[in-house]
């Protein structure tokens, strides 16, 4: 249910990463620009060394 006191309609949001945050805001009538982004993968040392030597 919408909160009448909420000023959200005046917001314009840029959401990075998890789309569920953007969808949640959209359902409340907020304009959201979604940017697909994910944090860099954390590799263990062995994989990092292998990639450094092969890629």
């Amino acid at each position: 249910m919408k909160d009448k006191n909420c000023k959200c309609k005046k917001l314009k949001v840029v959401n990075l990463g998890l789309q569920t945050f953007a969808e949640s805001l959209r359902r409340q009538g907020v304009k959201v620009a979604q940017i697909n982004w994910r944090p860099p993968v954390k590799l263990d040392k062995e994989m990092k060394d292998l990639l450094d030597s092969l890629l």
Binding site: E46, M47, L54, L55
Partner: protein
């Protein structure tokens, strides 16, 4: 030349085998005549190699079904005893020049569609859908008198006519059908509705020009037109004949096979020959055919039809088929985003497949194990969901486990790193 440069050059060569492949449907032959290494007392299955005793019940049932169909045993008990003793051999379809869609049960007398990559002469054989029985013996591992009779009917009555038709027209090129179909909403794994229709317009006029009696003509026509997803086996054959052409490219980190057996999922890499890199088989996400089904009913991934993803179709081509993606609740933008995501782990793009929804950008092609690990992105593969008894209970998709890629890279480094 350093190893990184050798890999780049090898991957360019390997991916060119996928892009420049010229798959043509050239023949219909018994599996024993076209599949390399398929012995008369051997039954093939989908996924990485697995012993009979370790198979999921669906595969065990398929093995027994195959033994009964092929006459390798007279009863289920005899079939089980021969499978357990090794008198009947089992082998992974993807270790031969074929594809084990679904359960992938292939015996030497099953009639196979033969697709030849005219660029390299490499042939791959795939089994066709079994008319009203759909998956039947080969795809679903079922055996009844009706299923066996239908397979013999296909082989003895339908296929001689289709074979004559095929030889008269000099084969049927597959790539143009795949390309046009993907501009009409197919991704050529879960959906080949457009390809089916294009195939029909190419084959049926030739069928009607043949000097055969009308009842025979109508039987062949009904089989082609009424079998759902008739073209699926040709997409797999085209993919496999291209992937086999790339297999064995030294220094290449491109994947050349994907498949699951319900216990493990495995991949092969061009520079690593026939070595498998496996992980526990993954579950699928998607839509069930009935609300009574849930994940607990689902068998982990079984089947090799995901060779189409390995060659750049199916889940990699999600943007071509928002219709398929919508079955899983995805919107057009999600389908486009998925193909864009797959681009991040691919070596190149395939100019044969410009996609309207991508503003005619080309589909990504050639999955690089290094890029999968670096980005944390693994290929999305489309497919059907089986339950533990072998019923088809839905359709959806899954991500190939990262463990497969990590194992492959370690082995690759051990083999090639200087």
């Amino acid at each position: 030349m350093g190893i990184k440069e050798k890999i780049e050059k090898a991957n360019e060569k390997a991916v060119s085998e996928l892009i420049d492949a010229n798959p043509v449907w050239v023949d219909i032959l018994p599996a024993g005549e076209v599949i390399d290494g398929l012995e008369p007392n051997m039954i093939l299955h989908s996924g990485p190699p697995i012993e009979y005793k370790d198979m999921v019940p669906l595969h065990k049932r398929g093995m027994v079904s195959g033994a009964l169909f092929e006459g390798l045993a007279k009863s289920e008990a005899e079939a089980v005893a021969k499978l357990e003793s090794g008198e009947i051999k089992v082998s992974s379809a993807l270790d031969h020049n074929t594809v084990g869609a679904g359960t992938g049960i292939i015996t030497s007398s099953v009639a196979m569609m033969v697709v030849e990559n005219k660029k390299t002469g490499v042939r791959a054989a795939t089994f066709p859908a079994e008319g009203p029985f759909q998956g039947g013996l080969c795809g679903w591992g079922l055996y009844t008198e009706d299923i066996a009779a239908n397979l013999r009917y296909m082989k003895n009555e339908l296929f001689p006519v289709m074979r004559e038709l095929l030889h008269k027209r000099g084969g049927l090129p597959i790539k143009p059908i795949l390309a046009e179909g993907m501009q009409m909403g197919d991704e050529n794994h879960t959906r080949q509705s457009a390809a089916d229709l294009i195939f029909n317009t190419q084959i049926l006029p030739d069928l009607f020009r043949m000097d055969i009696d009308k009842p025979t003509l109508l039987k062949v026509m009904d089989y082609i037109v009424q079998t759902p997803r008739f073209f699926h086996c040709y997409g797999q054959g085209a993919s496999m004949s291209a992937l086999l052409s790339a297999k064995g490219t030294p220094y290449s980190t491109m994947t050349v096979a994907f498949g699951g057996n319900g216990v493990e999922f495995g991949i092969k890499v061009a520079g690593m020959g026939d070595e498998w890199f496996t992980a526990p088989a993954m579950m699928m996400k998607g839509r069930y055919t009935s609300s009574k089904f849930s994940e607990k009913d689902q068998l982990p991934w079984i089947g090799d039809s995901c060779v189409v993803e390995c060659a750049g179709l199916g889940g990699i081509a999600a943007a071509a088929s928002p219709i398929v993606c919508n079955l899983r609740g995805m919107k057009l933008k999600d389908a486009i985003a998925l193909t864009r995501e797959m681009q991040q782990i691919c070596i190149s793009s395939n100019p044969n497949y410009p996609i309207p929804n991508l503003d005619f950008d080309f589909l990504p092609c050639g999955i690089d194990i290094r890029k999968a690990i670096k980005t944390g992105i693994t290929p999305e593969i489309h497919g059907g969901m089986f339950n533990h008894e072998g019923g088809l209970i839905g359709a959806g998709s899954a991500r190939i486990p990262m463990m497969c890629f990590e194992k492959a890279l370690k082995a690759f480094a051990a083999k090639y790193r200087e």
